[in-house]
Structure formats: C-alpha cells, structure tokens
C-alpha cells in the first residue's frame, strides 16, 4: 500500500492518521450496507403481508 506513496520531504514526518481513515471507511460502508439491507427487509416484510 505504501509502495506508491507520496514521500514526505526531508524533515517532515507523515502523521499516522490511519486509524481515523479505517474507522471512517468502515462506518460509511456499514451505513450504506445497513440501508441496503433495510430496503430489502422492508420489501420482504411487505410482500409477506
């Protein structure tokens, strides 16, 4: 993953902010997946009536 990374200039340390990045992607994709599931379940429940 870091092989094509933009290298920081000498004297500048790239901060480790990967935890925030991982949480943001996990939560966002989780919300979309949960919404897709809710659409599926609502439709299924409606058809079962």
């Amino acid at each position: 993953m870091l092989s094509n990374a933009m290298q920081p200039r000498t004297g500048i340390t790239m901060p480790d902010t990967s935890a925030y990045y991982h949480v943001a992607y996990t939560v966002a994709l989780g919300i979309y997946a949960a919404y897709a599931l809710s659409l599926y379940l609502r439709r299924k429940r409606l058809r079962a009536k």
């Binding site: 990374a5 933009m6 920081p8 200039r9 902010t17 990967s18 990045y21 919300i31 439709r43």
Partner: protein, 222 residues
C-alpha cells in the same frame, strides 16, 4: 434469482473506488491516510445535495401537477439523502480530529448548517409518517422539501461568506481543481460511483413505495 443490473454495477463501482482509494492513490504528505477520507466524504456531500435538490424539483412539480409518482420520488430521494448526509456528518469529524485537533467546531457555519439540513429532512420523513391523509401528506412534505433545499446554496457558499476551518471547494469553484492528478481521478471516480449508488437506492426505495401504496389501496378497497 433475478439480478438487477443497477445495484450490481453501483456496488461494483463503489468497491472499485474504495480499492483504488486504499491501494492505488498516493498518501498526502501532511495529513497521511486521513486525507483519503475525502473520497467518501465529498461524494456523500455531493449526493446529499443532489438528492435534496431533486426532492425540491420533484416537490415543486408535484404541487403543480399533483402526480403521485413525483411525491414517491421525492419521498425516496429525501430518505436516501438523509443516509448520505449522515455519512457526511460522521466522516467529516473523523477527518477533522487528526487534522484540526477537534471533532467539531460549533461556530463553523458549514458544519452547523449541514446539521440543520440533516434535521430538516429527518423532519420531512417524520412528517410523512405523522400525516395520514395521502393528499395532505404529499402537499405538506412538498413544501418542506422545497424550503429545506434552500439551505444547499447557503451551505456551499458558507466557506466564502464566513470564517471557517472547513476546506474550500476542490472541484466546484471557478479555478482549476486543486489536487494532484492521481487524487483527482480517484475523487472523480468516487463521485461517479456514489452517484450510481444513489440511483440504485432511490430506484429500490421508489419500487418499495409503489408496492406499499398498492397494498394500502388493496387494504382500503377490501
């Protein structure tokens, strides 16, 4: 089992975008990996604005033509818009914490007006559930749907009008995009793929609304 092409294409596009953002897009030197949050935050904001703008358009035309399909579309787009705004409001603070040192700034007009937008369309959904008469429900929610969308240009321009910590627009501005080309391509791909996801969600939500209304009519006639 029948496979619908739109959700399949949208899901594959989103997955491809996430893989490109994670493994094939360079890290930004000063922000590190947190900068990649832009590839889910900015498209979510774009889609939310698009969704609420289309709610306003469909609602305006509904008030003119009284076509139930427009009301159903507005209802569907508003719900999907709330989902995308929720993602905006969660991913934004997750970027802000390592970069600004704080999750939130209550004095920042861009942030607070986005929360207001979320509340307006959550109210829109609550209102729809509270009014039983279909005609009244459609009329009241159409008015709220139009008024809520008036916040969109205000939110977009708020970074120019007020002191704010929020970054300036990268794409929707008079000058050229301010991103290296690899990052710009990923951002454009993410805008396209999440727009496809919006279309897939709205189509599914609209189909549900059609079936629900048909079932309600059957119950009413019985």
């Amino acid at each position: 089992m029948k496979i619908s092409w739109l959700p399949t294409v949208a899901g594959a596009a989103v997955l491809g975008t996430v893989i490109r953002a994670a493994f094939y897009t360079p890290l930004e030197a000063k922000q590190g990996a947190a900068q990649k949050i832009i590839y889910i935050h900015a498209p979510a904001a774009w889609v939310a604005f698009l969704a609420f703008f289309l709610v306003a358009v469909a609602s305006g035309v509904y008030l003119w033509l009284r076509d139930q399909r427009l009301d159903r579309f507005a209802e569907s787009s508003a719900e999907v818009g709330v989902i995308f705004t929720t993602v905006v409001l969660i991913t934004g603070p997750l970027w802000a914490k390592p970069i600004w040192g704080a999750y939130w700034a209550w004095w920042d007009v861009r942030l607070v007006s986005t929360v207001f937008l979320w509340f307006i369309y959550v109210s829109y959904i609550v209102l729809r559930g509270a009014v039983e008469s279909p005609g009244l429900r459609a009329r009241y929610s159409a008015v709220l749907g139009i008024l809520g969308a008036l916040l969109i240009p205000f939110i977009h321009l708020s970074v120019y009008l007020f002191a704010t910590m929020h970054p300036m627009p990268i794409l929707l501005k008079p000058s050229a995009p301010s991103l290296p080309i690899e990052m710009l391509i990923t951002l454009l791909l993410s805008l396209a793929s999440f727009t496809l996801l919006y279309l897939a969600f709205v189509r599914a939500r609209y189909s549900y609304a059609v079936e629900r209304d048909a079932a309600a009519n059957r119950d009413h006639d019985a």
